[in-house]
Symmetry: C2
Subunit: 349 residues, 2 copies
DNA sequence: ATGAAAGCGCTAACAA
DNA sequence: TTGTTAGCGCTTTCAT
């Protein structure tokens, strides 16, 4: 029996030598067990296990068409919004034998483009969780490499988006039913597609109710945006606000408390996303719940089915996931506007 | 001029054809610019840019020794504890030209081992953020592939750990200084190394103060552990607790509120980790802050320097990062024990 | 400074 | 059913 050097990774050639067959037979036995006689297959698989063989994926990836890698690009890995997405996609990808490459684009379209450029030959496809790329660039990219965008809808690119309009409608009407008439939209970063979609949806609902909601901001991502946003809000007449996302809303909650503004007695707060933390902040946040983990699963599935059937017409190009309003304690009846005043002084911190 | 087919990825051979040199020269020009004449180098680099060339990483990885991939294994991607770690390592790895493969082991040692086994030939190294593997397995693995563990210290394996004892000491003494004498440790999963380390540290401090702290639990990870833990706590005489981690502590906070127990008036709460959310939960949580993002950076750096200098003795094998207590509003003076009673009835939910 | 040639591990035609 | 052969794209000797 031939004993391969134990300090060198075991290859199919080693297995071939040990079992006395050709390397290609080993390859077949391991990948398409059906095309090999039962006897040899068993012998080979036993030897593989015995030698603790693991395939060398890069070598396999040399043959065109399959690297086994899918990239997932997020704008900020520490944003809890992505946690569920990452987990959802990871589940699907792992089950299908793909590795997930997590890439943080640092919220920059250039980083995003550069990473994709550098990695494109290493990838079978990519999931873009919050692309900052212009439509044209995205469409062009999708020609070169299978792509699924999340929360971004551009023609010709597969996508998973949330049904923002219906969720926003629920949110606005929830506040209206509580007696609020002055409702502000607290805007997020202007380069965010979700932000624009939400603002558009708000406008549409407001128009339907013969109202016009003011908008404050935009406020960038970052620790102190919540404070700035809360301060800006208090200058207005608003008795309620809908914030671009929960992070911003939670930041505002903190600042409002500092300034002695009671939520929801003085001001009602509504967030978007229902991220980790929305249920235990103070007070627990009423928010538009988006099925983000499902979005991750769906995005991965779309990509995988596309890889399997490169041009199948059955692959849907755009999936819309339902959203719903989760009512917690941060929203309540509108205060009598005339008697409204903030107990605390403005404290600059 | 030779025009390569535009629908096929550009290879160094294409560049060679275009510039009239040999493929090997292109390779050199791109990787070791010093070993090529300035003129040809410029010509080649220009052509590469022109053709929008990107190296095919799997092919490069065929040559032994460098795949460009580092795996980061976490027990649960949705656990906020890991966010900073992932970001820290990602920063370092990206800067060094490595791709980060994020792997969720689902808190199972078997998954962990299996993933590592399957991927080992694809990897230049791995960071194990919360390994569930037995010491022997870990040590054996470290022989085969460069490894850095985080929050896990096993001889012969590079590691980054937190200085739990000093942080725990601060926490315990903080509570003692507030008059607490009955302090419980709320234990996390028994297969967690951190959990055992924290419990050991607590015991040591208690002994130094002539006390013996009771321990309740263990409580597994999961949404409802906090409730169970809070209920268990209320059966004891404890006026304060230190929870295995913030997630557990926050869950307990929620349950305590449901049951009408005031924090910190009736019970003081201390968590561990200072995760996202610890600063805005209700009340904001006093917690042992661990520099987890730094841990990610350090772990990546250790791995990278190890890859560069395979057996350099200068690479430290174990790094201990300082921790400190962050005092927020969940801890306060101990109540008079005799007058202590919980206003609310026990509500099973 | 540059070219020629071999080979990394695996898969897929094709042949037997 | 199995073996032979030829690459995949790149790096790396070894010549020149």
């Amino acid at each position: 029996m031939v004993t391969p050097r134990p300090d060198r990774p075991v290859t199919i050639t080693d297995i071939a030598a040990v079992t006395g067959v050709a390397p290609s037979t080993v390859s077949r036995a391991l990948n398409r067990p059906g095309r090999v006689s039962v006897a040899t297959r068993n012998r080979i698989q036993a030897a593989a296990r015995e030698l603790n063989y693991a395939p060398h994926l890069p070598a396999r990836a040399l043959a065109p068409g399959r690297t086994g890698n899918i990239a997932v690009l997020v704008s900020d890995v520490t944003n809890p919004f992505y946690f569920g997405l990452i987990r959802g996609s990871q589940q699907q990808l792992k089950a299908a034998g793909y590795a997930q490459l997590l890439v943080d684009t640092e919220d920059s379209g250039e980083h995003e483009a550069e990473m994709l450029r550098a990695m494109r030959r290493t990838l079978d496809g990519a999931i873009l969780a919050a692309s900052r790329l212009p439509e044209r660039a995205l469409a062009a990219l999708a020609e070169q490499i299978p792509l699924v965008t999340v929360n971004r809808n551009v023609p010709g690119v597969m996508s998973v988006v949330m049904d923002t309009p219906s969720g926003i409608q629920q949110a606005v009407e929830h506040l209206i039913s509580l007696g609020h008439r002055d409702i502000a939209y607290v805007s997020g970063p202007e380069n965010s597609w979700s932000n624009r979609a939400r603002w558009r949806a708000i406008n549409a609902v407001a128009a339907r109710h013969g109202m016009r909601l003011p908008r404050i901001g935009p406020f960038p991502r970052g620790r102190h945006s919540g404070s700035a946003a809360a301060d800006a809000l208090l200058i207005t007449e608003a008795t309620a606000f809908i914030a671009f996302n929960d992070l911003l809303a939670i930041g505002m909650l903190t600042r409002l408390r500092e300034r002695g503004v009671r939520v929801p007695a003085d001001v009602s707060a509504v967030g978007c996303d229902d991220v980790f933390g929305a249920d235990f902040c103070n007070p627990p946040l009423t928010t538009l719940t988006t099925p983000i983990e499902q979005a991750g699963r769906v995005a991965a599935s779309m990509l995988l089915s596309r890889l399997k059937h490169p041009v199948s017409p059955v692959t849907r190009r755009a999936v819309v996931l339902p959203t719903h309003l989760t009512i917690r304690e941060s929203s309540g009846s509108a205060p009598d506007r005339r008697s409204r005043n903030w107990p605390g002084p403005l404290v600059l911190s």
